[in-house]
Amino acid sequence: MITLESSLICTCVRAPLRARRAWPAALLLLHALAASAVDAEWPMASGDYANTRYSTLADIDTSNVGTLAEAFAFDTGVERGQEAAPIVVGGTLYLLTAWPNVLYALDLTRPGAAVKWKFEPHPAPRAQGEACCDVVTRGIAYADGTVFMVTLDGQAIAVDAATGAERWRTPLADVAHGETVTMAPLVVKDRMLVGNSGGEMGVRGWLTALDTHTGAVAWRAYSTGPDRDVLINHSRYAPFYPTDRGTDLGVATWPPEAWKRGGGGAWGFVSYDPALDLLYYGTANPGPWNPEQRAGDNKWTSGVFARRPGDGTAAWFYQWSPHDRHDYDGINEMMLLDLDWQGARREVLVHPDRNGYVYVLDRKNGEVLAADPFVTVNTSTGVDLKTGRLQYDPGKDPRAGLTIRNVCPAAPGAKDWQPSAYSPRTGLLYLPHQHLCHDAQTYTTSYIAGTPFLGVTAQMNGMAGTSRGAFTAWDPLARRARWTLPEVFPVWSGALATAGDLVFYGTLDGWFKAVDARSGKPLWQQQTGSGIIGQPMAYRGPDGREYVAIMSGVGGWAGAVSSGCLDRRDGTAALGFVGAMKDLPMPEVKTGVLHVYALP
């Protein structure tokens, strides 16, 4: 009966004839569910516009994941941190490496996934010295026969997906002033969205939209400065809280001129709600890190913007961490979910922030419905739901000349960039994160173009009484954790949830893991030989089978101690992260290898 059903479904798989011939007929009988064009593909780093990183594929499930085995691997030869998600469209897998940002297309219809083409953009080597936290990229996007990528030195490039030929190239970032780009672009209609990095270098943050056909800049929205630069049109701008209303707050909430180098980059993932036609993205920390040099709320840093993709104008803004004290960038992903919230269907935005709280916002207007700590937090006491304002503990505020110890969470926050997943089957969020605290001392710093603009010396440690890494299932309705898996090192990889009720993630000591999405029970793991900081994804191959893919290659801020060959005797290295990473296995093998797994 199963065979018959599978055979019938097989005929529905829209695989190229050539590919079907390439695989034994027996493999085609393994399909458990009908394949659709959507679940076969993974066209952007986050999987979908809502940033759920949920795959509807269920061939690999809790009963058979134990037999998962490597189908093929691909060595990029780039030995820096590999944070990017591979994407799959039309039987081809596209992959962007860390600097020097080589783009590969692998033909999945051929056994072993042979290289179809390779595109080398040759970014400026000097960009390596301006990127704060290893020379990573977080991925690419596909639309209309084109792959969209950005180099570390900030060149947005459109590449023909069939041939690997360059269609256009637009330089966006000023490397001489510390600007780089590490984020994965998003394509919405005919707009390619790109944000900058460099909050540690005194850049001025922005999100830029380019025309996907020509590469021309359609609009640029700054995160600081006068309203005309921030694209705030007061007739169309309606934030929920009074503190975000007013003229030119991007100037008025700073000391004179400080907004010009005030940070607020947009280096995280962008979400999009097609029904509301709104983009959502977070802004990074203000600069310099030393908060005593920038009195005021420092708008519009460490917050979230809702913008219209057509002209970039802001619909609303909310600030997670006003006048950020501890390097709490607000760039973590915004998951767009429709939840039954206290008896009513609400269109919400769920965001686990570096400051330690999981926020649930009404994504139509930016109202905070809930903000609950998911780790031990001592830098603040909570979020006032009437005013929306984070309540800082002044005892942890940096003050010149004083060493403030045991600041929890530390600068990378309770959770950094590593993107979460959400499963509609379990209703749970899956958070890869860390338990770190830091000691910090601030001092007055001067702005020198192209050099760090920090004014702080910090060093991190594991939080007392817990593991440095954690993988937590969070119930957004019950507003509490269901289960937490401890990990030795910060979990710096993204998460993937599948309809097979599995959750995948990787660890800095090289394990790629699958756990039961409901219970958290570990079901499968494989050693990849190098630390994992990438983003797992799933796709249906041209042969009809489900595959799960991950990049392995230690690095990122957490793994910089290995990828940058840093000296472990100095705990303040890598902006203090080395203090918490001195026992990362040494010698850690540096690789940049794509690993793809399937059932045997």
Binding site: R126, T403, S446, G450, P452, G564, D567
Partner: protein, 162 residues
């Protein structure tokens, strides 16, 4: 009432002492020697040696300038980050004083900015002298001692290679 006052004073002294950084009584074991290419030849400004190599005041000035010019933002206290570590034995562009001077003055292609023209040559020599102290290659009588502020690595007087 004197006794509680004395106890109070002793407590204050103790607590003040807590804020100092850890004392290190032993030097680090030197790291493995870098087997790669050695320095290129040539001199800058006609000097093969750093005039401040044995000048404790200038080396300490170099340490102040190291933070002043944001060098520490990339190189930390020597362990590195955005920039390479300076406390290990690996010198990509050479370890002679003139090589260190050139790295600071002219920059290097993988991200080191050029400070020549923005900073006086005299200050660059002071910085170069301190960079050698970071690795522990100046006499401990010349190297800076324990910081009063947050210092996670061992003080320069207690590093390898003296």
């Amino acid at each position: 009432m004197r006794c509680p006052e004395l106890a109070c004073l002793a407590l204050i002294v103790c607590l003040a002492g807590c804020e100092r950084e850890t004392r290190h009584f032993t030097a680090d074991v030197p790291g493995p020697a870098y087997p790669g290419p050695r320095a290129q030849t040539g001199t800058v400004a006609g000097r093969a040696e750093n005039p401040y190599a044995r000048n404790a005041y200038a080396v300490n000035e170099g340490k102040r300038l190291f933070r002043w010019y944001n060098c520490n933002g990339c190189h930390a206290e020597g362990g590195g980050g955005m920039g390479v570590p300076l406390m290990d034995a690996e010198w990509r562009y050479g370890d002679r004083p003139v090589d260190v001077f050139t790295s600071i003055h002219d920059g290097r292609p993988d991200g080191m900015p050029a400070f020549g023209g923005r900073v006086t040559d005299d200050q660059i020599w002071r910085l170069a002298a301190y960079v050698r102290a970071i690795e522990g290659r100046v006499a401990s009588a010349t190297a800076p001692n324990r910081d009063d502020s947050l210092q996670e690595a061992k003080p320069e007087t207690r590093r390898a290679g003296q």
